[in-house]
Amino acid sequence: MGITNIWVFGQIANGAPTSGTLELVTKARSLGGTVSVWTGADGGAAAATLGEFGASKVCAVDYGSNLAGVAVASAMKAAIDAGDVPDLVMFPQTYEGRDVMARLSVKIDRTVLTNNIDIAASGDSVSVTTPIFGGNTLVTTSFTGSAPYLAAFRPKSFAPEAAGGAAAAVQSVSTPELGAIGGAKVVATHVEETSGPKLDEADIVVSGGRGLGESGKYEMVETLAKILKGAPGASRAIVDAGWVPYSYQVGQTGKVVKPSVYIAAGISGATQHMVGMKGSKNIIAINKDKEAPIFGVADLGIVGDVHKVLPKLIEALQAR
């Protein structure tokens, strides 16, 4: 017994596996057994890379204009019914990942454990670790009952490492008849263009929050990010207020970032935000309220007005 058959729900962007996918494949490989990656129809093109990181098989589900959630979960269920029963299915904590795992959990009547940062397997037992209360407390949860066990992981929980494996075998999988649940169709896809490095890959991130006072002041955050060749980010408060798009959000519901330097300007440090940036190597915080929780994680904290500190900082950096 033990964990011998592991499935990973993988995502492909521009023909290559996402870093979150490679993180999970790397971890799955370390748990032992065979690793199969379930993706969309574009998974075939990524078979070489996925193999290099430890996958032996790619199940490429052609789901056309269906949403990934219903389609991939239905295809997984069909495979399970046909006798290929995984011990563990790992998902990235992404929009598609959450949909697939939620649909699959009902189809096979198994619990899902989400927002994890680690996993351990010992014999038949599998446990996962989840940070709660803004990451101050770590909870370890073990699956009970029989496999398959379903678990989702936050981005950047594991370091992706190639192992030099051969290209994964590609199996094309068609979408089973979906019936009523297949009523949703994608009719157009929009990519929001951003200049500069991507928020979750940037080495320097400058984020703004409610302390900026008004939406026009966010420009200071963008300017500072540009000077430092970093990416601008935001707290949930100003995303909800409509100052910047959702894609800028750092936190529990947004992106998880782990840059070398994170600058938080006018952000108090709500749990929701801290979960997304606590793993940064160096944190600089500027906030008026010296009791703000953000100072609890800051390597350099400036108790002051962002409207005074940021312009001077920008000027000093521009003068260099």
Binding site: L300, G304, L317
Partner: protein, 260 residues
């Protein structure tokens, strides 16, 4: 136009402004006053606007909470929802997301179903983030999760769905379930008249057994908590008051890291 029935899932949670704590069984303490999860106020507002746009219909609520709690439900009723079903049952303590989805789906069926079921993308306290999509599967409905814009046109739902790279335009047949992101609409504040009216709006309280869902609570959860530990704290940093020259400290710090 046909009147539209919308059911909104609302969660009543401990005030996020107060620090959370775990009880003896390692579940989140929910014994104090509970409030409407702010994330759900967007769904309530969206539902009210869609019913308005349809020219008639009704917004109902489903909620699962301990101790017959209705304060959060009353807030949503004050905004304009007509009625609700509250599932409150000590047996539900320790329920996992899957059981929660089965319970809420059964509560939706108790209300006779709907043209549209709306939920937030995730709650602000447990944030498992799977319950809406699990409910859709239990109910046999199509779904659009992470919708940031919704309209209904000739019996078809149109939504902009958040993606990693931007957004997708999605169409969906009704009945359906959607989960909406915060900011999809601007939630109204309950009026005084609304608050007074909410006090007499009907909320039916039921148990898991009434809904025919078993097993529930820890017995139905496919998980057990095996450990709780404190995360390693970050070393305390240098905190200084800005005297007008603090920007220099930041420059020096960045220089020290060789990033400028």
């Amino acid at each position: 136009m046909r009147p539209m029935k919308v059911i909104v899932c609302v969660k009543q949670i401990p005030d996020p402004a107060t620090p959370g704590a775990l009880g003896a069984d390692n579940t989140l303490k929910r014994d104090g006053k509970l409030i409407l999860d702010e994330s759900d106020s967007y769904g309530v507002e969206m539902a009210l606007q869609l019913v308005d746009a349809a020219g008639g219909g009704e917004v109902s609520l489903v909620s699962m909470a301990p101790n017959s709690e209705t304060s959060g439900l009353r807030t949503a009723l004050a905004m304009g929802a007509a009625k609700g079903v509250l599932v409150s049952d000590p047996a539900l303590q320790g329920s996992d997301a899957l059981t929660t989805a089965k319970i809420l789906a059964a509560a939706v069926n108790r209300l006779g179903g709907a043209d549209l079921v709306i939920a937030a993308t995730e709650s602000s306290d447990g944030y498992t983030g799977t319950v809406p999509e699990q409910m859709a599967e239990v109910l046999g409905l199509p779904s659009v999760t992470f919708a940031k814009k919704i309209s209904i046109d000739g019996g078809t739902l149109k939504a902009d769905r958040q993606t990693e790279a931007g957004y997708d335009e999605v169409t969906c047949s009704l009945p359906a379930l959607v989960s909406v992101t915060a900011g999809v609409v601007e939630p109204r504040y309950p009026s005084f008249k609304g608050i007074m009216a909410a006090k007499s709006k009907p909320v039916e309280e039921v148990t898991a057994a009434d809904l025919g869902v078993t097993p529930v609570g820890w017995a139905g959860a496919g998980q057990t908590i095996s450990g709780v530990a404190q995360a390693e704290a970050r070393a305390a940093g240098e905190i200084i008051e800005d005297d007008g020259e603090a920007f220099g400290k930041i420059v020096a710090f960045l220089e020290g890291l060789k990033v400028i």
